[in-house]
């Protein structure tokens, strides 16, 4: 496959991830969408669920990882093999936490949209994805390809941050009327 073909594949899958990001936006969550592709099929998807669960670790990547595990358990297939041959598409660069989680799960390739200047774990703040100083216990490094439909991911984030985070404590935002 030529490089152009590969890029087109990444773009096509990224549009799917962007659909999920839009869903998150409508649910008043930070609009980040994610899909996991295995054998040319979407086997799991996820959107940010931090506000819904009151758990700040419920990022799109973690939700999708758990859906893959559920699928593997139901179909009785070894999840390690699935993760080791999967590609994760996410609209925003995985944060430091998610990058570390993806290493632990053994996902070899991550394709993302825009950079994550606040929390990015694939180079923006730290590069956990390619950090070789961590031991084998922390998993293996993964390849990260960024800047795939980045503008579209940024537009969604901008729309979200124009609004107000209704879950922030009162003293951190404008007083309710």
């Amino acid at each position: 496959m030529s490089e152009v073909d590969v890029n087109k594949i990444h773009v096509d899958w990224m549009y799917k991830a962007l659909e999920l990001a839009e869903k998150s936006l409508n649910a008043q969550e930070v609009p980040v969408g994610c899909i996991i592709v295995y054998n040319d099929q979407i086997i799991a998807d996820g959107g940010n669920e931090v506000n819904e669960t009151k758990n700040a670790t419920r990022h799109a990547e973690i939700i999708a990882i758990e859906k893959v595990r559920d699928m593997c358990q139901k179909q009785n297939i070894a999840e390690k093999d699935v993760f080791a041959n999967a590609t994760l598409y996410v609209t925003v660069e995985p944060c430091i936490m998610c990058a570390a989680a993806l290493k632990i799960m053994g996902v070899p390739l991550v394709v993302y949209g825009c950079a994550n200047e606040r929390f990015g774990g694939c180079g923006s703040i730290l590069n956990i994805a390619s950090d070789k100083s961590l031991s084998q216990d922390s998993g293996s490094c993964f390849d990260a390809i960024g800047n795939v439909l980045a503008d579209k991911a940024v537009d969604l984030l901008k729309t979200f941050y124009k609004g107000e985070n209704v879950n922030a404590p009162d003293n951190k935002r404008k007083k309710k009327s």
Binding site: E49, V50, E52, T53, K54, N55, A56, T57, R58, I62, I65, E66, R69, C95, I96, M97, A99, A100, A101, I104, M105, E117, R118, F119, G121, S124, I125, L126, I128, S133, L134, S135, D137, S138, N167, A168, P169, D170, N171, K172
Partner: protein
């Protein structure tokens, strides 16, 4: 669920409070900038040959060669002999060697300086390139050149070894012992022996008791991730469902908690006690969760709160938290001695 645990008084604190308090102070994990030796830079200085012209010279130099990022330097110093001549900082050496400045600025500055009355011949000396952040750095810096020092009282207190009062130390020890007990529960259940407790230090409420669940099959269920999820459960959220066989995992629902002034939001204002240094994933999860302070026992090779990274004070992140390590380390090290 009942949290009425009897606090064991530690006899160590009763005999000689001062000595034992020092011995048991958890070690603060500070950003590298507080621990680094003084960095130096070459500058040109000159002797003021005519003291009466000092103020004029200073005024002129501030005009043509402002100190810029070297604002922490005192422009003038006395030599060892108080009656001896004054020395004055002219400009940074690289200012003159920077190619882009070479033609215009260097010639200009040299020319102007040569016209200043009362200045001796210039020579190079080393001065501190950054402002001192701690008294230790200050004392080292002034060996080279006098500098201004704005002492951060919090940092001084943290480094003093007397940051915590005995009452606080007793609380820390009590919560840490609970984390160790949970690690032992985990071990009995064939899980990794890592315990975690999240506490509201204001109301002294234990919000959750957690331990590692990785060995149940999901590699992301580290003790800290479980603890964060249990806090979410305490607030009516949460994601993971825990098997009945893990009845030792506990959380205090909001109804059971003393009322706090402001509403709860993630782990804002809470402290975490854990037996082992959190990894990258867990340390960043604590950033997202807005934890206030983390106390841990044993360091670990991939640890992200002091060993491999310092995620809690990583530049660029929008939330930082305090970290104290080696709490009851002798006890927590026993949990990991077999590795």
């Amino acid at each position: 669920m009942s949290y009425r645990k009897k606090m064991k008084t530690c006899s160590l604190y009763q005999n000689d409070e001062k000595i034992d308090a020092c011995e048991y102070q958890p070690e603060p994990v500070l950003a590298d900038e507080y621990l680094e030796p003084v960095h130096l830079v070459d500058v040109y200085v000159a002797i003021i040959t005519d003291k009466k012209k000092t103020s004029k010279i200073v005024k002129k130099l501030n005009e043509i060669a402002p100190l810029g990022y070297l604002q922490h330097l005192k422009r003038i110093r006395t030599t060892n002999d108080p009656a001896g001549p004054l020395q004055i900082v002219l400009y940074e050496k690289s200012f003159a060697t920077d190619i882009s400045n070479w033609d215009s600025q260097k010639c200009q500055i040299e020319e102007v300086i040569s016209t200043i009355d009362g200045l001796g011949k210039k020579y190079l000396t080393k001065v501190p390139s950054t402002p001192p952040l701690t008294r230790h750095q200050y004392n080292e810096a002034i060996q080279y050149w006098p500098v201004n020092f704005h002492e951060d009282k919090m940092i001084t207190s943290l480094l003093s070894g007397k940051y915590f009062e005995n009452k606080e130390l007793q609380d820390i020890e009590m919560y840490m012992k609970l984390a160790i007990q949970l690690a032992q529960v985990a071990k009995r259940k064939k899980q990794l022996p890592i315990g975690a407790v999240i506490v509201d230090p204001v109301t002294k409420t234990i919000i959750c008791e957690a331990y590692d669940l990785q060995n149940s099959g999901y590699p992301l269920q580290h003790a800290v991730m479980v603890a964060i999820d249990l806090v979410a459960h305490s607030q009516g959220g949460g994601m993971w469902i825990y098997e009945d066989s893990h009845s030792e995992l506990k959380y205090a629902s909001l109804q059971e908690q003393p009322k706090s002034g402001t509403g709860v939001y993630l782990c804002t204002g809470y402290d975490l006690y854990t037996t082992q240094e959190p990894c990258v994933m867990c340390s960043m999860a604590l950033v997202h969760s807005r934890i206030s302070r983390v106390f841990y026992g044993s360091s670990q090779k991939d640890g992200a709160l002091g060993s491999k990274f310092k995620i809690h004070c990583q530049p660029g992140l929008n939330h930082h938290y305090k970290v104290f390590r080696h709490c009851l380390q002798q006890h927590t090290d026993q949990l990991y001695s077999e590795r």
